[in-house]
């Protein structure tokens, strides 16, 4: 409860901490992954998905910026331990002492791994075969793009993995590692980790949750920007200004960027609601768009804004840098269902 009050007062600016010298999230100073865009954003288990990195490379704005060879290492986890374990892939063999790091397992780990392996054995899968089943799919690429055939992930595809999860569960209900019921209609979380950057300069660790959803398949497009413009105090559109000049940024989205979709309903105990025929009960909901703002210099007033039931925040304030030169702005739009859009805007800061 005190945390609530502290949060309220912190948000109100009444209490705080001395973090003024720390880099803010909207301030881009070096290579950074801004998003991983999926086409299709919420694929079905029978689709092939293409993932593309959305990144900022300082060399794009400043040709003299220090840079190195780009690298991209992708790691696709058929089963992931999720955020509590930094998205590591489940590796039952590691718990038996045969894992890649050779660490000695605890009795509890052996017990847990033993249960999984025993269940797999009942399904006719040997420990060695299980190792292949759970092993992450690691790919090194020169470009920031991969394609994933969801019918063959883990060797058995998403549908196979889901069936395996149900089989391993003692009550036949597939659950995540935090205990939440997993429905293929709601989405199977395929975790894709990306280690990317510039050799010898910088590395970013990124994780993309590709929600593979076996449902009606409608409205699964990425949102799209229509415009992103800067305006000065007189309301005129500008492509730059003088140092420390304040500008207003305005964006517009292509119509239909916020899609409606059938949302599965859950009861008070977190169980999915079904009708008399056993079909899942759904309600139409509309996506909420979250905008993340970045700049390679100057100061963005709000690092995130939203368009949802309460707010329509498609404007932001921007103060140009103190020094003349180019500055690039990015806005990433997220629809909350795996959809992304990116738009950049280059501005020039001139001598006053």
């Amino acid at each position: 409860m005190k945390a609530t009050l502290a949060l309220a007062l912190a948000a109100a600016g009444l209490v705080g901490c001395d973090s003024r010298d720390l880099q803010s999230r909207s301030e881009i100073l070096e290579y950074r992954v801004l998003a991983i865009r999926a086409d299709i954003p919420e694929p079905s288990p029978d689709d092939t998905a293409t993932l593309t990195v959305v990144e900022h490379d300082p060399a794009d704005v400043d040709p003299e910026a220090e840079t190195g060879s780009p690298f991209y290492v992708w790691e696709i986890c058929p089963f992931s331990l999720g955020s509590l374990a930094q998205y590591d892939c489940l590796d039952p063999l590691q718990a038996t002492g045969a894992g890649p790091d050779g660490s000695a397992p605890t009795p509890e780990q052996q017990q847990a791994a033993g249960r999984v392996i025993a269940t797999l054995a009942e399904l006719g899968v040997s420990p060695q075969e299980a190792a292949g089943l759970f092993a992450p799919d690691i790919r090194q690429t020169a470009e920031g793009t991969i394609t994933i055939d969801l019918e063959t992930v883990g060797g058995v595809g998403i549908r196979g993995l889901y069936a395996l999860c149900q089989a391993i569960a003692s009550d036949g209900v597939c659950r995540s590692f935090e205990g939440q019921v997993v429905l293929l209609e709601e989405g199977w979380n395929l975790y894709v980790k990306l280690y990317s950057g510039r050799e010898g300069v910088v590395r970013n660790d990124t994780v993309k949750v590709l929600k593979v959803r076996d449902f009606d398949g409608r409205n699964r497009a990425n949102p799209a920007f229509a415009t992103l413009e800067a305006f000065d105090a007189s309301g005129a559109a500008v492509t730059g200004g003088v140092p420390e000049q304040k500008l207003t940024l305005k964006l517009t989205m292509v119509g239909g960027s916020a899609e409606t979709y059938p949302a599965i309903q859950y009861d008070d105990n977190g169980q999915p609601v079904r009708d008399a025929d056993g079909a899942l009960v759904t309600e139409e909901e509309t996506e909420e768009l979250l905008y993340s703002w970045y700049a390679t210099g100057g100061n963005i007033d709000r690092s995130r804004t939203v368009t949802d039931d309460l707010f329509d925040q498609r404007e932001n304030e921007f103060t140009l840098p103190e020094e003349p030169g180019p500055v690039r702005l990015y806005v990433i739009a997220r629809d909350g269902r795996g959809g992304f859009a990116v738009r950049s805007l280059d501005l020039q800061v001139s001598e006053p």
Partner: protein, 883 residues
């Protein structure tokens, strides 16, 4: 001679003040009153100590209920009078435990005086800040024709005469001054009675000079005019001299049987800097208690988790101790009698917690007359009204409400990204009824508290965009408390108490998190105390706790102590809605054995948890040995030790099948402690305790990915506590508290122990309060505390879908922030008016504005860090008016 009726026996010899001011001339050796709690008597102490001497400060008992003796009919018929000198033993509650005739006035008078005196009621004597049993001498005078406060002056028939009468009251409190000598210039004297009334009759008409010159009070001299044939009525208000008090005969203190029970009196509590006079916050200044970052209100006692310790009121559990987690206690300090703090090794009457206990006891409302109090500071304002209701009954009603919600709009920046729908506000309320008749006492209390906060975040939180929209929080509880005490015989005491009420905790963060616990709680205690012999006392009881209600939760699994948690947006949210019923009956038994200089308390407690279907059987033993005693037979060097087992149930979420593990059992701990107490002077005590606490079967994260938690966490806590305390004197009190401690945990599957999240190696508190004059007081508190452990971050992985960075955490609690030190100052100014007292105070926290590190803050991807600093210098002020 004006009175021929059988008049109320005045009490010119109830001269506590007079007696002691004259060196206790009438005092005699106290008899052996027997019993362990009143083991020994000592000769009367000398008059009140002068400043700087080492004599104890004493606040004498004041007679609050006088009972007229039945005049022996035969003697009355014959017009006979008599004086009976009694020695009264007054308990630490103010009741008269014993009345012994010291000088007989004849059998009939002795009996009448004794019977009446046994029904007197006093305010308890306070010595060294503690209510203390004392003996006083009391002369009961039987007179037929003359009221003793009425002094006749030789009459000059030729001159017209008039009467002069009135009342002498304490300035500010309006308490009657009893036994004070009122003099006229010609040496004529009258002595005030129990109501402070005095009277001179048949004085020659004309001017008179009235003086009151008493050691306890500032002298008064007044010119009055006696009018022929009339009564001139006067009212005198006398101001008490700074710290003056009468010496009284100490016959015993409340039995100290625990290894470490520390008692604070309200007089001390009110003036400790940095606590806003809040009783429960003062606990944080005692040894064994860790400092909470940002002044929070949790109790981290001897390295235990906050939930492992409890604050109880009259030994009954309350769900909430502080408003908004630390701003203010939910119960007004002025209605507390005192607070006992048990950092460990507490007796069998307490259980269900493996850490420590804070036991706050509500006092009996005052019964001499109506009293009121108003108090206001920067956070809130409160009122209290108390007084007698009917014969034997007193009442108190009190309430408090914050006005942060009224102030906040004026201090909130216009561009603040927050919009309060309900700005932070809290209130609490209390109604007390206390009835005494004979050996029975009935108490009926109703109390409650409500905290509410609701606001709209107008943009997504910087670190976690899923936190946005409306945030709501309301915490509410009420209790109806009933207690019946009865002394069936001199050796058998019984207390039955029952508390029942509602708890409600509600929290919602947009549609992401929802938490509603709506329950009823009934706690019942039935305690029996039987003195089996002079050396053996049996104490036993039944302590039952029952909760029932419903909960509706949609939230991620809360992290356990030492665990780090990803941002909310990356957590899976679980949901439950269910009814619950907890029943925990706990019988306990304890013996108090006095074996010469050794005092032993073996005890045993059994705790049953219905939900877990698990029993705990906890034997306990503590002992004290008077190694060196003073001439009065009181221990000046006392050795003490204790050992025992303690158990508690896991939190409800830990035993829940969705959020936790329904197969877990009770948690346990072993407490071992030993130490000594040394009375260095009559004013200064040293208390040193070494302790070891072993936690086993504690609930923590499981190494098995298939279960969230299990009973596999271990803990070890060891250290030493030192308390050097200068007890309350007329001008000064203070203490130095030092704790050297290490608290560690080892979770399931881990090979090594790690530091507890709030492990603090050194905790030093030095505080003192000095009365400069009767109007001005100043207090200082300085604290030095080792910085809290931190779990470092080593970068982060960017979760692009939720737009948050999930930190890579290093070894749990493997680093520390710099030490904390801070000076707080408090100045009180008091204005005493005839009928009321006004006090204003200024409190400055963090006087030298140190930027104390309370933690570490990181940039968005955990590649940069900076100290998270605490509160800067904060002045605050308050006012208190009382009558």
């Amino acid at each position: 001679m004006t009175s021929s009726s059988r008049t109320r026996a005045a009490i010119p010899s109830f001269l506590l003040t007079f007696l002691f001011a004259t060196g206790g001339a009438l005092a005699q050796d106290a008899p052996d009153v027997g019993g362990d709690e009143l083991p020994e008597a000592r000769p009367p102490a000398p008059p009140a100590a002068a400043p700087g001497t080492a004599e104890p400060v004493v606040v004498p008992p004041e007679l609050t209920k006088f009972v007229e003796a039945e005049y022996p009919p035969e003697a009355f018929a014959k017009g006979e009078g008599a004086d009976v000198l009694l020695r009264l033993t007054i308990s630490d509650t103010g009741a008269v435990d014993e009345a012994i005739v010291v000088e007989s006035g004849g059998e009939a008078f002795d009996t009448a005086a004794t019977n009446a005196a046994m029904l007197f009621e006093f305010t308890p004597a306070v010595i060294d800040g503690q209510p203390t049993p004392v003996q006083i001498q009391y002369r009961y005078r039987f007179e037929v024709k003359q009221e003793s406060t009425r002094v006749e002056v030789p009459v000059d028939e030729a001159r017209p005469t008039g009467d002069l009468g009135g009342v002498a009251l304490e300035k500010g409190t309006r308490a009657p001054l009893v036994g004070v000598v009122v003099r006229l210039a010609d040496g004529t004297e009258a002595i005030t009675d129990a109501q402070g009334v005095f009277r001179f009759e048949k004085l020659p008409a004309g001017p008179v000079v009235v003086t009151i010159d008493d050691p306890t009070w500032y002298a008064l001299e007044d010119d009055e005019e006696v009018v022929a044939g009339k009564l001139t009525e006067v009212k005198y208000y006398l101001e008490r001299k700074s710290g003056d008090g009468a010496s009284i005969t100490v016959v015993g203190r409340r039995v100290q049987k625990e290894v470490a029970r520390r008692t604070l009196t309200m007089e001390e509590i009110r003036k400790i800097p940095g606590t806003q006079g809040d009783a429960l916050k003062v606990i944080q200044n005692l040894p064994g208690v860790a400092r909470i970052p940002f002044g929070g209100g949790a109790l981290i006692i001897r390295g235990s988790n906050p939930g492992d310790s409890a604050a109880v009121i009259n030994r009954h559990f309350v769900p909430l101790v502080f408003h908004f987690g630390g701003l203010r206690s939910v119960f007004p300090s002025e209605l507390l009698e005192d607070i006992d703090f048990y950092p460990g090794n507490f007796g069998a009457e307490f259980g269900r917690y493996t850490g420590g206990i804070v036991d706050a006891r509500i006092r009996r409302p005052r019964e001499d007359r109506l009293h009121g109090r108003f108090e206001a500071d920067v956070f809130d304002a409160g009122v209290l009204l108390e007084g007698p209701l009917h014969e034997g009954a007193t009442f108190a009603i009190a309430g408090r409400r914050s006005y942060i919600d009224a102030i906040l709009p004026f201090v909130l920046p216009d561009d603040a990204p927050i919009d309060f729908t309900v700005a932070p506000r809290y209130y609490d309320y209390q109604a007390l009824y206390d009835y005494k008749k004979g050996d029975h006492r009935l108490r009926l209390y109703f109390l409650g508290s409500d905290d509410k906060l609701e606001f709209l975040l107008e943009q997504p939180a910087n670190g976690d965009p899923s936190i946005r929209g409306t945030l709501e929080n309301e915490t509410y509880f009420n209790r109806l408390y009933l207690a019946w005490n009865a002394a069936f015989t001199d050796d058998v005491d019984h207390e039955f108490s029952l508390a029942a009420g509602q708890n409600q905790l509600y929290f919602a963060a947009a549609d992401q998190i929802f938490f509603l616990v709506d329950g009823w709680i009934v706690t019942l205690r039935d305690d029996l105390e039987v003195r089996l012999s002079e050396r053996i006392k049996l104490r036993t009881g039944l302590d039952v706790e029952a909760f029932f209600g419903s909960l509706n939760i949609k939230a991620p699994v809360p992290p356990k102590e030492g665990q780090q948690s990803p941002p909310l947006a990356e957590r899976e949210v679980l949901q439950i809605k269910e009814d619950f019923f907890f029943l925990n009956p706990s019988p306990w038994v304890e013996l108090e054995l006095k074996l010469g200089d050794l005092f032993l308390v073996p005890g045993f407690r059994a705790d049953y948890d219905k939900v877990l279907d698990d029993w705990a059987f906890d034997p306990r033993l503590s002992g004290r040995y008077d190694l060196v005693k003073d001439e009065e037979g009181k221990g000046t060097t006392v050795l003490k030790a204790g050992a025992g087992l303690y158990s508690q149930r896991p939190t409800p979420d830990e035993s829940d099948d969705v959020f936790g593990n329904p197969d877990i059992g009770l948690e346990h701990s072993l407490h071992v402690s030993a130490g000594f107490e040394q009375r260095l002077t009559s004013a200064i005590d040293l208390d040193v305790v070494g302790f070891y606490k072993y936690l086993y079967d504690s609930v923590g994260p499981s190494a098995d990915p298939g279960e969230r938690v299990n009973n596999g966490t271990l803990g070890r806590i060891y250290g030493m506590e030192v308390l050097l305390r200068h007890n309350l004197r007329e001008r000064f009190f203070g203490w130095i508290s030092y704790t050297l401690m290490r608290s560690e945990r080892k979770d399931d599957g881990e090979d090594d122990y790690r530091l507890f999240t709030l492990d603090q190696t050194h905790i030093l508190t030095m505080l003192g309060q000095y009365k400069l004059t009767s109007q001005w007081e100043i207090g200082l508190r300085w604290r030095y505390v080792t910085g809290n452990p931190q779990t470092p971050r080593q970068g982060a992985v960017y979760a692009v879908d939720s737009d948050v960075y999930v930190p890579y955490f290093g070894s749990s609690n493997s680093e520390r922030v710099d030490a904390f030190h801070q000076l707080d100052l408090r100045v009180d100014r008091r204005w005493v008016y005839e009928a009321w007292i006004l006090t204003a105070y200024l409190e400055i926290q963090n006087v030298y504005n140190r930027a104390n590190p309370e933690g570490i803050t990181y940039n968005f991807d955990s590649t940069q860090s900076a100290p998270l600093t605490g509160l800067p210098i904060i002045p605050s002020f308050g006012l208190r008016g009382e009558f």
